[in-house]
Symmetry: C2
Subunit: 199 residues, 2 copies
C-alpha cells in the first residue's frame, strides 16, 4: 500500500515567510535559516517582529490568504489524490498553512503549531516531533505503508532517502549536485509521471 508524502513550501506553495514578507511589506521577515542558523532564535525574532507590527494570528492569516498556490499545484494535487493517498509533510505551522489548504481543496497536512494568546497574538510555537518528515515516514512504514516522497530542500532529504521512491522537485542546484542519485524534476507533469510510475 502506497502513500505519497509531499513537502509544501517550494513544491505546492511559495516559501510562506518570504511571500508573507512581501505581502505584508515587512522586509525583515525575509531572513531565513541561511542568515540565522539557530531555528529557535530565528522564530523568536520573527514572533518579536510580528508583535512589534501588532500582527495577531487573524491579521497574519488574512495576509497569507492573499498568497496563491504555485501555478498548476492544485491540478497536480487533485490528480494525485484521485490515484493514491497523499499527505503533506511540512515544517510550517497549521495556522499559517490553513488559508493555503483551503485553496488546495483541504488536503491532509502534518505540520507544527503556533501557540496563540487570549488577545490573538502568537506567543510561542510547538514542534510536533523531532526530524518530523523522516519520523513521519518511518511511522507510516511501521503501519504497512510504502512511501513515495518529494521535496525541494535539505529537510526533505531524510524522507526522500528513507522512501521506496523519492524525487527532488525544483531543488536548488547545490542540492541536485550533491545528491545526483535522487531523480530531480522541474514540472508537475514530470513529477506526476515519476510518482505514478513508482506506484
Amino acid at each position: 500500500m502506497n502513500i505519497v508524502c509531499l513537502d509544501l513550501e517550494g513544491v505546492l506553495v511559495p516559501e510562506i515567510w518570504i511571500a508573507f514578507s512581501q505581502a505584508s511589506g515587512i522586509p525583515e521577515l525575509k531572513r531565513t535559516t541561511r542568515d540565522e542558523p539557530d531555528y529557535d532564535k530565528l522564530m523568536r525574532w520573527r514572533l518579536e517582529i510580528l508583535r512589534a507590527h501588532h500582527l495577531g494570528l487573524a491579521d497574519i492569516q488574512r495576509v497569507i490568504s492573499t498568497i496563491e498556490p504555485m501555478e498548476g499545484a492544485k491540478a497536480f494535487l487533485d490528480a494525485l489524490r484521485e490515484q493514491t493517498q497523499v499527505l503533506i509533510l511540512s515544517d510550517t505551522f497549521t495556522q499559517f498553512a490553513t488559508p493555503l489548504m483551503r485553496k488546495l481543496g483541504w488536503p491532509t497536512i502534518f505540520c507544527n503549531e503556533l501557540i496563540v494568546g487570549q488577545d490573538g497574538m502568537i506567543v510561542d510555537y510547538r514542534i510536533r516531533t523531532a526530524q518530523s518528515k523522516l519520523s513521519t515516514v518511518r511511522a507510516l512504514q511501521s503501519i504497512g505503508f510504502q512511501t513515495i516522497a518529494s521535496g525541494d530542500s535539505y529537510n526533505d532529504l531524510g524522507m526522500i532517502q528513507a522512501s521506496r521512491a523519492g524525487f527532488l522537485f525544483r531543488s536548488p542546484e547545490a542540492i541536485r549536485n550533491a545528491y545526483p542519485q535522487i531523480p530531480a524534476c522541474e514540472t508537475y507533469d514530470e513529477l506526476k509521471n515519476l510518482i505514478l510510475q513508482a506506484l
Copy 2:
C-alpha cells in the same frame, strides 16, 4: 497537536457490502462476520461470488458509485476538515472506497487493498497492518499527535479507548450498553460538538 480519526462505514457511508448487495441485486453478499466469524473465509467466499457474477473491479466500482454517503456526512466532514486534520481509518479496501471518497471531497483514507488481476478480476486482498485502527492511532501518537476517534463498531473500540477522546456514533445498543463510559451520539451536530470541545 490533534488529529481526528473517523471510521468510514456506518459513520460516513453505509456498510459497503450491504449497500453493494442491494445495489447489485446479489443478496448473498449481505453475509457478514456475524454469520461467518472467520474474516478470511468470508472474504474468499465474497470474491468467489463476485467472480461467479463476472464482476470485475470496474463493474464493482460502477455499482459502488451509485451508493451515496449518509445524509449530512459531507457537510460534517467539510466542517471538521476546516478546523483540524482528519484521517478516515477503515477496514474496507481502497478500491471500494474510492468512488465514495470522490463524493466526500477526497479526504485521506487509510485502509486495505484488493489485488486485481490483468483481466480486472479481484484475485486476492491485502491487509495493511494487524489491528489497523489501533496500530495507526499508536503510530500517530508516536509522532506527536493527540488523537480523537469515533466509530460505531467493535473494531473501533481499540482506537477509541487509546485516544485522548473517543465517541461512539450510531452504535448498536449492545455496544453502547457494554461501554457506557464512552460518550455516544446519534447526529452529526452532536458528534461535531463533542469533537470540537475535545480539540
